[in-house]
């Protein structure tokens, strides 16, 4: 039984490097958010404002990718990954996401609509699911015109979490990758592939009463653009 991939020394080195990188990203995104909030009143005439907004977007992407790489390095979905499902009030997921993404969305003039049953409780690994949804929203930021919708609801014993936008929709290659992800086909050719793979591994780690989680990509939905769906049993 292998305890860690690679040597323990390398693992220790990676762990402390990650610790440093996370600190740096925390400070970067925190500082940018503060600057954006401070200059919100003068956003119209401040040429640096859209540039800072873009920097924040890129910083968030950097953080997402780091989270995903780490989770995949630690083999999410395998017995070696610290998977921890807990009972969560689903609306709290929406609250955490909305507040975490608020400054980024405001700075890019994107409206976030949310919809979720008030008292719904579901059991899942909160940090992993938040990671997947943050990534989906950041992805939608890139494709949307000016609206993103987060819609969570129960459907036939499955929790369905949808991230929709009003952009032009996913290109056919993405829809294809979304259709085959999780079927053991290697599509890791770009970073959206990584994101899909991560989301799929997170979904598949959730098992309940003989059912397993899944993801899918669609075009259309309520807003008529791209639509990412995470289903958890």
């Amino acid at each position: 039984m292998e305890d860690q991939p690679g040597s323990p020394e390398l693992f220790m080195f990676l762990a402390s490097t990650v610790h440093d990188m996370k600190n740096s990203i925390s400070v970067l995104s925190g500082t940018l958010e503060n600057l954006l909030v401070q200059s919100q009143g003068t956003a119209q005439e401040n040429p640096a404002y859209p540039q800072m907004a873009h920097m924040l977007y890129q910083t968030k992407r950097l953080n997402d990718n780091l989270i995903q790489l780490l989770a995949l390095y630690k083999e999410v979905g395998k017995p070696s990954y610290p998977f921890e499902p807990i009972a969560v009030q689903v609306r709290e997921v929406v609250e955490q996401l909305a507040s975490g993404q608020r400054v980024l969305l405001q700075s890019r003039h994107i409206e976030l609509e949310t919809s979720c049953p008030h008292d719904l409780i579901w059991t899942f690994d909160e940090d992993l699911v938040l990671g997947v949804l943050v990534h989906a929203i950041n992805n939608a930021v890139r494709y949307t015109k000016d609206k993103i919708r987060l819609d969570i609801g129960e459907n036939d014993g499955v929790l369905e979490l949808r991230v929709e936008d009003n952009g032009i929709g996913f290109p056919p290659s993405m829809l294809e990758a979304g259709a085959v992800v999780g079927q053991g086909i290697n599509f890791l050719t770009n970073s959206s592939g990584l994101g899909l793979y991560f989301a799929s591994e997170v979904a598949r780690s959730h098992k309940h009463r003989g059912r397993q989680g899944s993801i899918s990509l669609e075009n259309g939905g309520t807003l008529g653009g791209g639509c990412f769906i995470l289903r958890l049993p």
């Binding site: 996370k22 909030v37 009030q89 507040s99 975490g100 400054v103 409780i121 940090d127 309940h208």
Partner: protein, 571 residues
């Protein structure tokens, strides 16, 4: 990040996060500043900061914080878990204090299930304000739900605490799993494994919880079905490689199956996954030492000492263990140095006694029989000068050593003492007999064991007779004497508490008797935790507290039940 808090999650009514005292612990100044900004936007005014574990402890000693945000990784020195453990063990936190552990990535510690002191929640960096507020509110609500249960748990009234769990489950769907988990744990502590098993099985119908599966394994093990238990623990590990508690249990089941080498291998794997735990390295060291794997034992004990530098869990056992290793390596000089350090850093009569035992073992194992005999003589003198005796394990160890170095009276006295205090423990009598056999005292030993058992039985029976003939004052007085002579005898201790309770039930509440009974029961729980009779007696005792009395019918029914149990228990 510091936009008005109104735009974020709506605050739970009743929690005013602005008024709380906060402590931020992080070795990175930029992160501390950001967290401070986030807290300020929740309205917080009182925010302190520490850049290291040592600095954090300094502040925690002076101020009781409501919320601690502590990074797990603090560079050199104490890590976040060390700080948490020290704060809890030294009572530097209030029961209502919230501890949020922050880490750079999904923490393995969160799911290990082994650490006794868990933070209230783990947060992953970067921390957004929404996540912070949501988790704070959640933890606060959970603390409200558990506050009476936790308090009753601390009073060790496990049965009442389990009932409180049921009461909370009725209207707290979100925390149902946690409450059931707590209830199962309480039922185990109350010596009701069958009821605990039912709770675990109900949980497992819903979801494959590794702790519930491990809980059932523990019950199987307690019932003596070690092979079934071993399979369950292996199954849990196959599903979740980080669930350390299952490793510890697997090692115990293998040990019980006589597979001592396999047990040691499992502990070694667990120590690799979670290397910074003092108890784990100590257990590994002891297992390796018993197996004669000296290099492994040495590595584990040295690691244990290194972690102990920063941890309040620092253990004297590691010094004794490493001294034994030195003895095996024919280096009595380093062994003696370690024993001197142990006695300097850990004061107490028991430590002196154990240091002397270890010294004798080290000399004996390194072949210096003259010095070993001298240690034995000194040990005998120490025993003569103080009538108090340590726990059973230490007594047996001492007797073995004393026989080996040629002392005779002191080990005989120790072994008789052990038998008197465990007069109905057949397995222990066999162990004692084996020690006599090895000292070539088989027949004499058998006779000694027999008379020691008789002595204890007679003492106990006299107390029961006085009680049954309703001479309650005499019974209470006699049991005090019996406890003096046999301080660790469970039957005597339980009967003592029972008689004290009967006295109060018959003649009214008496604070001194109440404290005496409570003291006796707390001692029982230290000597042998998880006894059914302990939980029942505590529950009866708590009912006697004025203002918490049950109805007269209930009292009568319980008195009857207790009497019946006592009669059948002694027949």
């Amino acid at each position: 990040m510091n936009a008005p808090a109104t735009a974020t999650a709506p605050a739970t009514p009743g929690v005013d996060w602005a008024d709380k005292k906060y402590l931020i612990v992080d070795d990175f100044v930029g992160v501390r500043q950001l967290l401070r900004e986030s807290l300020r936007s929740l309205g917080a005014r009182h925010i302190d900061q520490a850049s290291s574990g040592g600095e954090a402890i300094g502040l925690l000693q002076r101020i009781v914080y409501d919320v601690v945000l502590c990074d797990f990784n603090l560079g050199e020195g104490k890590n976040g878990q060390h700080v948490l453990e020290e704060a809890r063990i030294r009572h530097l936190l209030a029961p209502s204090s919230v501890w949020l552990m922050v880490s750079a990535e999904k923490s393995v510690e969160a799911v290990m299930g082994a650490a006794e002191h868990q933070p209230d929640a783990y947060l992953i960096k970067p921390i957004t304000e929404g996540v912070l507020l949501t988790r704070l509110n959640r933890v606060w609500q959970k603390k409200q739900i558990f506050s009476e249960i936790d308090q009753t748990y601390l009073e060790k009234d496990f049965l009442r605490a389990a009932k409180l769990c049921d009461a909370q489950i009725a209207h707290n769907k979100l925390h149902e799993t946690d409450l059931l988990r707590m209830k199962a744990n309480l039922l185990m502590k109350a010596g009701e494994p069958e009821q605990a098993r039912e709770v675990y099985e109900k949980l497992l119908q819903d979801r494959e919880y590794n702790w519930a599966r491990t809980g059932i394994g523990k019950i199987r093990m307690a019932n003596g079905d070690h092979e079934a238990a071993r399979q369950m623990f292996s199954g849990v590990i196959a599903e979740n490689r980080f669930y350390i508690d299952a490793y510890d249990q697997l090692a115990t089941s293998l040990h019980n199956l006589g597979r001592v080498g396999d047990a040691c291998d499992v502990l070694e794997r667990a120590a690799k996954l979670s290397p910074n735990s003092v108890p784990r390295q100590r257990n590994l060291g002891n297992a390796a030492l018993r197996l004669g794997n000296i290099p492994l034992a040495e590595k584990a004990f040295r690691k244990c000492l290194a972690i102990g530098e920063y941890s309040i869990m620092k253990s004297v056992d590691a010094y004794f263990g490493l001294a034994r290793v030195c003895g095996h390596k024919n280096d009595p000089k380093e062994a003696l140095q370690l024993l001197a350090v142990a006695q300097r850093d850990f004061a107490g009569k028991l430590v002196d006694l154990r240091a002397k035992i270890t010294e004798g073992l080290v000399y004996h194992e390194s072949g210096d029989y003259r010095r070993a005999r001298r240690s034995g003589d000194e040990l005998e003198e120490m025993l003569k000068s103080d009538a108090e005796r340590p726990d059973t394990g230490t007594c047996l160890e001492m007797a073995t050593l004393l026989f080996a170095v040629g002392v005779k009276d002191a080990p005989v006295e120790l072994l008789c003492y052990v038998v008197r205090n465990n007069h109905d423990n057949q397995l222990l009598h066999e162990d004692v007999q084996r020690i006599f056999d090895k000292a070539r005292m088989s027949d004499e030993g058998a006779a000694l064991i027999k008379s020691a058992r008789k002595e204890a039985t007679e003492m106990m029976n006299k107390g029961v007779l006085l009680w049954k003939t309703n001479k309650l004052d005499d019974a209470v007085a006699w049991m005090r004497e019996a406890r003096q002579a046999l301080p660790d005898n469970l039957r005597i201790l339980f009967n003592s508490a029972q008689i004290l309770i009967s006295h109060m039930q018959a003649k009214g509440y008496d604070e001194l008797l109440m404290m005496e009974a409570n003291g006796v029961l707390m001692h029982v729980d230290r000597v042998a935790p998880g006894q059914q009779r302990f939980a029942q007696l505590i529950e009866q005792l708590q009912m006697l507290v004025p203002g918490r009395a049950a109805s007269p019918e209930e009292m009568e029914a319980e008195l009857d039940a207790a009497l019946n149990e006592q009669v059948s228990g002694d027949s």
